[in-house]
Symmetry: C2
Subunit: 289 residues, 2 copies
Amino acid sequence: MSDCPFSHITIVGTGLIGGSIGLALREAGYTGRIIGVARKQTTLDVAIQRGCIDEGYQDLTTACQRADLVILCTPVSGILAILPELAKLPDEQPIITDAGSTKATIVQAAEGVLRSPELFVGSHPMAGAEKTGPGVSRGNLFQGMPCIITPTQTTDPEAQARVEQFWQFIGMHIVHLTAEEADHSAARISHVPHAVAVLLFEMAERLGGLDVSSTGFADVTRIASGDADLWADIFMENKESIVDVIDELDQTIAQFRGLVVKGKRDELRALLDQVKNHRDTWIKRRTQS
Amino acid sequence: MSDCPFSHITIVGTGLIGGSIGLALREAGYTGRIIGVARKQTTLDVAIQRGCIDEGYQDLTTACQRADLVILCTPVSGILAILPELAKLPDEQPIITDAGSTKATIVQAAEGVLRSPELFVGSHPMAGAEKTGPGVSRGNLFQGMPCIITPTQTTDPEAQARVEQFWQFIGMHIVHLTAEEADHSAARISHVPHAVAVLLFEMAERLGGLDVSSTGFADVTRIASGDADLWADIFMENKESIVDVIDELDQTIAQFRGLVVKGKRDELRALLDQVKNHRDTWIKRRTQS
């Protein structure tokens, strides 16, 4: 395993993702500094107490002094608000990356406002949980998971290489996509599944069924317990891809409904069997990696 | 805890559900006989080896001799095929119940063919897993889970009471519904969520996204790894309720899509927050029970 290419890392937003990055760095043997930024002192206190960060500040400028990497780990609207502040830092701009759940808006904003846009590298580490805050952070959150990197023609290749090495250092593997592809993929495997989980629960509560539901329903709706603000941001910022994928899903559901109505047992069985087998293989491959 | 009101139980279909019933009986302190029926001798061998059953037979008549309860634990099409055979048993008919995933078809068939229809009590224990076979059975599968009971005007109240006591003995709590309500509830919290999980996975594989998907997507699609034959049966036998619930879901998705398109962040946030809070409460209540 290669070393971490940074020695003074500032994590903006020390919740589940930011806190877990700190823990993962330590577990991977990182010996540099980890500075945290949060709005509330109590969040910083918990993050320090849990070993996620060494020091914490409510002031961005103080926290970014001497940083060679700044990672933005707040919800998307927070990242969009912080970028202009980063442009005003008195010293030379460090390499900046983010863990935002949508990429096109963030990358565009970063390259529009930062003094050194070539040192911004958009990232989407595909890891999370339905709980929030540094209290639930854990060092193995990223282990074996994919991290999407969305470089543009502006991006400095060396900055990109170092950011990729950073995510690999905490156990992730890199997937390169354009910001638009990243947003579309995320809509398909995260944002729309999230919406569906929310709507299935809401329907069962409103129309009946919750009192007889079991483990399967708890699993399929687990992600619906995610943070409302974080997800409201996502549904606003990745609107176009989400609507496209909802339309894809509608079509797919309509086809499935047709097979049920027409009693096409063999075709349904073939579909169910194909998905079961491909999913089993996918899970096995994930577990081995 | 009350005693098990049966002492000679025959389990037809010793897979995940049937095998787990056997284990759960033993863990609850049941001291009577447990006889298994399966098509393959190897299934019976594994079930005996794992302690799910005491003896196993491929012949239904032999297995049901002296039984005071017969539980049908095969997929729905198997149950429908076995009911006429049970009508031909040479001795007096024992109490019969089932663990079938749809109720209207089964209850109707049972009351139509059995010699003593009043001794049939339709059940739907809401427990399961994506794995199949006696090798994955476990004694705690039913603990704290709901069991739907669907009595009709034909059902003998004493037979019903004894079947309910049986499910309670292995840790379940009873919910009374008509067969039609049971099928509609099951469509809402199990069958349509299953279809959606299958379709989300199929879409991600066909259109892209699987290579960047994470734990959330694995959870939301877990049930899609269920047995294809079992589920093809369900989609055929509970067709009407499933189509109704697909239409309910379509409407709900269309409303959600409207909020996204119109950028209604506050309304979206309120919906997400409501579902998160209600789901958290629901999970807490489940865990405590």
